[in-house]
Symmetry: C2
Subunit: 276 residues, 2 copies
């Protein structure tokens, strides 16, 4: 159980300095921290902590009327995690805008999120996602949500993809960035060659893909590769690996990359017998 609640009366209290003006700062991890908002995400953070998968929690800040409903969620945190409680007036003054949900936590990222360690930990039979140049936080959040829904074992992001622990990506993912293991930092080509060496069948998703996603055969290990919206995957990747497309009407604009990831994951998870 997290620490006993401590009431904060002064917005400038140094114990809650980490929560000041979070909207403006939009913590992106240069200091190793991230902001978790809302009950669902707090629960996911507690669960990630309980699994000892590297995530930490520096502090929790709650609106006073939210405390009683959250005892089950707080039970997942260790008693070294301080819980601060504040009135709406103090809460709003601290967080810099009206945080209607009244539930915030200051999370701490795992020490390392590079790819090699993660690749050694994925299950023998695996479905993973690989992202190349995914620069939009909404899309990255949605892609993690889809990864969780279809039971993907990990997400590998290249060095040009954005940080999934950015506030907006966490929120859109409904906390899935805390439950689906991920790495980030390699160049796209090195990342994909590493997956291929580990026995993954690599399938690039592209409107110009060679076969329908419905024709991707089951395999022991499959990696679905997603490119940046608009440009898509570079030709160097498309010509090196398998490619698949989502059957759709011809037109100027293809599907949003997050929706496309959902459709392809659905189809591959069915083929692999991972959902029914």
């Amino acid at each position: 159980m997290a620490g006993a609640p401590v009431r904060i009366e002064d917005p400038s209290d140094p114990r809650i300095a980490g929560f000041v003006s979070i909207r403006e700062r939009d913590l992106t991890g240069r200091d190793g921290l991230f902001i978790a908002e809302g009950t669902v995400v707090l629960r996911m953070l507690g669960s990630a902590q309980a699994k000892a998968n590297g995530f930490g929690c520096d502090a929790i800040l709650l609106l006073e009327n939210r405390l009683s409903g959250l005892s089950g969620v707080l039970a997942a945190f260790g008693n070294e995690v301080p819980v601060y409680v504040a009135s709406a007036a103090v809460f709003d003054a601290v967080a810099g805008f009206n945080m209607h949900r009244g539930v915030l936590a200051l999370g701490r990222k795992p020490a390392s999120q590079t790819g090699a360690g993660l690749l050694g930990r994925v299950p023998e039979t695996s479905l993973v996602l690989a992202g190349c140049g995914l620069s939009n936080h909404d899309n990255v959040g949605s892609i993690f949500r889809n990864a969780a829904a279809f039971g993907a074992d990990a997400v590998f992001l290249d060095e040009t993809s954005c940080d999934p622990l950015y506030r907006k990506a966490i929120r859109v993912s409904v906390g899935s960035v805390l439950s689906v293991p991920f790495s980030r930092g390699l160049g796209a080509q090195a990342m994909l060659e590493g997956l291929a060496s580990a026995g993954f069948e690599i399938w690039g998703l592209s409107p110009r893909g060679a076969v329908s996603v419905a024709a991707i055969p089951a395999a022991r290990r499959i990696a679905l590769v997603l490119g940046t919206e608009g440009e898509g995957l570079p030709q160097s990747i498309l010509s090196r690996f398998h490619t698949a497309r989502i059957p759709q009407r011809p037109g100027l604009d293809s599907l949003n990359v997050a929706t496309a990831s959902g459709i392809a994951l659905y189809q591959i998870a069915l083929a692999m017998g991972r959902v029914d």
Copy 2:
């Protein structure tokens, strides 16, 4: 071809009053107007006009350096549509924020968007969407984008769903709200009974659906029904019509409704032989 370009030097020029402070006003149609932003959406509006499907265009406002690249797009508009051109300074002062894309149009909605007329115009063989309580503009925009990608013939929205011609929904739909015919305004039950009477097989999408979306059989006319995110479709609808679910891992949070619509549309369009 739209009218000859007219240069505007004064942000308070009455000829461009309709574009003032669009961000704050976020036109929602109480005056029958909507804002189209960007080249792609302007092209869709031109195409909608050319098809005489009821959309109008009151005026176009362009950043001066965008004019030369847009002649092909402007060709789709009648010469009664005025084209105004402004410098970045005037443009920003008019639109109230930095419109980087420099392409705006003031669209006019079709006179009537209620369901009866549309139901009489859908093709003999049809795939349509029906939305009940879709209140999020991002989701509605994404759903229209998916409808266009999979060739849906129409979208029927109940009276509690939001307006697809809201600025953000138009942008997220990449203009598909201008190409996919839609209606809005009936109660959910009346809307669905109308579709059933017109020979549609009605399939409600729900995590508690009776069969997998992969098992929805082809039919002459299929309507896929989507409920509001979170609550989902009401029991009265689920027990009256067919229901289908998207196979996924058990968990607290299901797929986003827009992603779910994409997966279900993909699967139904395949079953009906509408994409390959």
